[in-house]
């Protein structure tokens, strides 16, 4: 699946550090918050890569650093244009603006991502106008075309965002992201701010649009069921690093990293009779400004030993396409989501039987 020729986006050893400053005048840097600390991954054309992890694990920062909305501290992000891979960090502001025609972002909170002072027509038309791609009636045609694709109609065009519900707003945000016909979309928790009943609609819309327009997604979420529903592969992030990356069903049913095991055991079951036995992690998530030595997870891992405290495990390929960063991955037998009867992620179940 990670054939070099089909890779659309390639990330190599990406780091994003936020300096913490102190002092009234000199403002010395006292520490760095390592939001993203050495992430490498590739995203193939047409696939959906899910990215999961708890709050503060650096998912959002990684997504934004790939788009260069947040400036990476080190590492490389490359995006395929034609036959060549373009290094995004080498682009100046103007070239980056042109690059954003091909890569867009869908935000978590549709109440914050739309300018309340503009009509829907202006919001969706702005990317075309700002890039000089269309204007006048051509612009309106393209706006109408895209707004129909996301399930709204022309009647909505002259309204302001405050007249819409959360789900409708997210459709507007999706239309804005797609109006320039980009290839790559970072979906930054696109459904977690919505009602559960609306979440499925938006997820289905994203899947339909992907098929119709041949989109490639980086799908960031903390809702494991939602991620399993849309993703081809899933990466698990912990404290700024990827600890496991595998095809969805492998990751869910046969996790190889203790942290993934804990995540999978915490998926709620839609059965009140079912007694949940989650693998409870002890302690707090360490401070990303002062991460533990060795394996980042050793402070909370029940399998950790002396090696884990000193040596940082590399992300290695245990099975084809299944990457794990754990010293003991080969000898551990971990429980997956499948060991919990009642976990019904339709797509996962379907792809298993198929």
């Amino acid at each position: 699946m990670t054939d070099l020729a089909t890779d659309l986006v390639a990330v190599e050893d990406l780091q994003v550090h936020f300096p913490m400053r102190k002092g009234a005048f000199r403002r010395r840097i006292v520490a760095n918050v390592r939001a993203v600390d050495g992430v490498s991954l590739t995203i193939a054309r047409g696939e959906t890569l899910g990215l999961v992890g708890e709050s503060g694990s650096g998912k959002t920062t990684l997504g934004r650093a790939i788009l260069r909305v947040v400036e990476p501290t080190a590492g490389q992000v490359r995006m395929r244009r034609g036959d060549a891979m373009v290094d995004l960090r080498g682009l100046d502001r103007k070239a980056m603006r042109r690059m954003w025609r091909h890569m867009q972002l869908i935000f978590q909170d549709p109440y914050a991502s739309l300018n309340a002072r503009m009509t829907v027509r202006d919001i969706i038309g702005e990317p075309l106008l700002a890039n000089g791609l269309a204007k006048g009636s051509e612009l309106l045609d393209r706006v109408i075309d895209i707004i129909r694709k996301v399930g709204l109609n022309t009647e909505h065009l002259s309204r302001y965002p405050h007249a819409f519900s959360g789900g409708q707003r997210q459709r507007i945000a999706i239309a804005r992201a797609l109006v320039m016909q980009p290839e790559f979309i970072v979906c930054d928790e696109p459904v977690s701010a919505l009602d559960v009943s609306i979440q499925a609609q938006i997820l289905n819309l994203l899947k339909e649009l992907q098929e119709e327009l041949g989109l490639t997604y980086l799908f960031i979420a903390h809702d494991l069921a939602a991620v399993s529903y849309v993703s081809d592969r899933v990466a698990v992030m912990y404290l700024g690093q990827i600890v496991e990356l595998a095809p969805t069903e492998q990751l869910y049913y046969t996790p190889r990293h203790p942290y993934t095991e804990a995540l999978m055991s915490a998926i709620p079951v839609a059965d009140p009779e079912q007694v949940m036995r989650p693998v409870l992690l002890t302690g707090e998530r360490p401070d990303p400004a002062n991460p533990p030595t060795g394996c980042r997870f050793h402070t909370r891992c029940r399998y950790a030993d002396a090696t884990c405290k000193t040596l940082m495990p590399a992300l290695t390929e245990l099975a084809p396409g299944h990457h794990v960063a754990c010293h003991h991955a080969a000898r551990l037998t971990l429980q997956g989501a499948a060991s919990q009867p009642g976990f019904v992620a339709d797509s996962v179940a379907a792809s298993q039987t198929a």
């Binding site: 909305v69 603006r97 935000f107 909170d109 309340a116 002072r117 065009l157 405050h162």
Partner: protein, 372 residues
């Protein structure tokens, strides 16, 4: 294909297609005190613009027959109770007080001086554009002094009209100077951040830590004594403006810092907006309403500062008239005891300051129509 959007009758409220300013206006209108304040401000602005026309006399003109005279009430009914279609004031005659031997004006109910509208009186030049001698009201014989006269016999009503213009213009210029300075300095600090931001913020903290009244006093006292009153007027206005920008600069900076991280601004950046478009289309419209509120609220501050300075004799000086200059005459107990009408300009100060505050309040509530 172009979507046909049917226009609705404009009287029907459509919040879904209402722009920011429409929503703000609807909300502002619900604030009755603010609407009242707005009306009063409009009246003040009218007075400031048409002072020459509204004032029956030249403010410097003395009426030797009516020194330190009390306000002359305008009547429709005479002492017998019969109605007159033309309003009138009773004539005044000079009498000598038998004890103090001072000239005291006395009311002569036998004679009436009719007050007419659009009468010819003292000539004036309207902003240097044209000369005229038309006044809103006046008398053909005798005189009418609605707010009385001062100890030199100058008409206090006329002087108050002219003072309104000066006081409001000082406030307007002062606020404008602060606004420009505040928007630029705060904008630079917020946009560039880093060392510039640090320096600006420390400077603002320093300026704000100096007690204002002594600072104004020191600065205005430093103005050369031999300057004309016009030069002093410009200088005082500038000083008030130069010291008033700190609050606005802070507002602009904090708004800018907050907005820069907003999702919709990041979305606009991804949409390919240039910096200019980002500022013009997204940032500025988002905090313009706050700036206007800030501006309205800072108006009375400057107004009161000028009044206070002039009252203390350090601000504007005669022959330029402001409310503060007029109140300067009401400083000693003798004046107030004998001529309480000299305090009338103080009412104008209070009413205008209140009006600005009401409008500012209403605007603040209306400023963010999207707040929940």
């Amino acid at each position: 294909m172009v979507a046909s959007v049917q226009p609705l009758p404009s009287r029907i409220k459509r919040p879904d297609v209402a722009s920011q300013w429409q929503l703000m206006w609807w909300r502002f209108r619900r604030h009755h005190m603010a609407v009242l304040g707005m009306a009063m401000l409009a009246a003040f602005a009218f007075v400031a613009i048409f002072a020459e026309f509204l004032a029956p006399y030249d403010p410097a003109k003395r009426n030797p027959r009516y020194l330190a005279g009390a306000p002359t009430p305008v009547h429709f009914f005479d002492s017998q109770g019969s109605f007159h279609a033309t309003p009138f004031v009773y004539a005044r005659t000079a009498k000598r007080d038998p004890v103090t031997l001072r000239q005291v004006p006395a009311v002569d109910e036998g004679r009436q001086w009719p007050v007419r509208f659009f009468v010819r009186g003292d000539t004036y030049s309207f902003f240097g554009l044209f000369e005229s001698d038309l006044h809103l009201f006046g008398t053909s014989d005798g005189f009418v002094h609605l707010f009385g006269t001062d100890h030199l016999g100058r008409d206090m009503f006329s002087r108050t009209m002219y003072a309104t213009r000066v006081s409001l213009s000082v406030a307007l210029v002062g606020v404008t100077v602060s606004f420009i300075l505040g928007a630029i300095i705060g904008g630079v600090a917020g946009y560039f951040g880093g060392a510039i931001d640090m320096f600006v913020m420390r400077l603002i903290e320093f300026i704000r830590s100096v007690p204002t009244l002594p600072l104004w006093l020191a600065l205005t006292a430093a103005l050369p004594r031999d300057w004309t009153s016009l030069q002093i007027y410009v200088a005082v206005t500038t000083i008030l403006g130069l010291l008033g920008w700190t609050h606005l600069a802070r507002t602009v900076r904090s708004k800018l810092l907050a907005l820069r991280e907003e999702d919709f601004v990041i979305a606009a950046k991804l949409a390919g907006c240039t910096d200019a478009r980002l500022i013009g289309r997204h940032l500025l419209p988002s905090f313009l309403s706050y700036l206007i509120v800030d501006l309205t609220i800072s108006f009375p501050e400057v107004l009161l500062a000028e009044t206070a300075l002039s009252f203390l004799g350090l601000g504007l000086r005669e022959p330029i008239e402001s409310w503060g200059v007029l109140l300067y005459a009401a400083q000693n107990i003798r004046s107030i005891a004998h001529m309480p009408w000299l305090l009338i300009p103080g009412l104008f100060v209070i009413v205008s300051a209140l009006a600005f505050n009401f409008v500012g309040d209403g605007m603040r509530d209306a400023a963010d129509p999207y707040a929940k």
